[in-house]
Symmetry: C2
Subunit: 104 residues, 2 copies
């Protein structure tokens, strides 16, 4: 388990990102899909988490298929109403959902 120091640092990071205008939600999850931290409801977290980790997996596979020596580092999904930014790491995956129309 992450030490309390790490968890409070994660918490601080979450609060800082959350304070940006337009940010609607932040989820931190393991690569396997379990939610570690989320500012969304449990139901929203599950739905977003499942869909987004599956998309990330597919993007990662696409990159390594095109070039086995390359690796996915960021994914940005822009729609008419929102922008989903996904930062995959070795073990974790962080996603920020924001409304691009109200950004500073």
């Amino acid at each position: 388990m992450a030490t309390s120091a790490v968890m409070s640092e994660v918490e601080e990071t979450l609060q800082r990102i959350k304070s940006h205008k337009g940010v609607e939600g932040i989820i931190i999850m393991t690569q396997e899909g379990s939610i570690l931290q989320s500012t969304l409801t449990e139901e929203q977290s599950k739905q977003h988490g499942a869909l987004i980790s599956s998309l990330t997996e597919k993007a990662s596979l696409m990159i390594s298929t095109l070039d086995p020596d390359d690796k996915l580092s960021f994914l940005r999904v822009r729609s008419q109403k929102k922008e989903i930014m996904i930062a995959p790491d070795n073990d974790f995956l962080m996603m920020v959902i924001q409304n691009p129309n109200v950004v500073e």
Copy 2:
């Protein structure tokens, strides 16, 4: 079939984008996956086309699952070596592959 005026406009756009430093390839294809224009080899076009249109479809489904009134407008896939930008339209899909490390 697109009129010759439209095709030459498409051709002009392709050449203009291709002239940007770092741009490695451009593909224009139908939503169903057939390649209309490409600056890559036939084999590269087929591989990129299939992988990227499949990822785009999944991203589009994700957005409409999260909000049926929302629609995918842009997808940016960043890896350690390249950046793939995908602009889906109603009937077509354009993708630009660039090396972000040599951009102007």
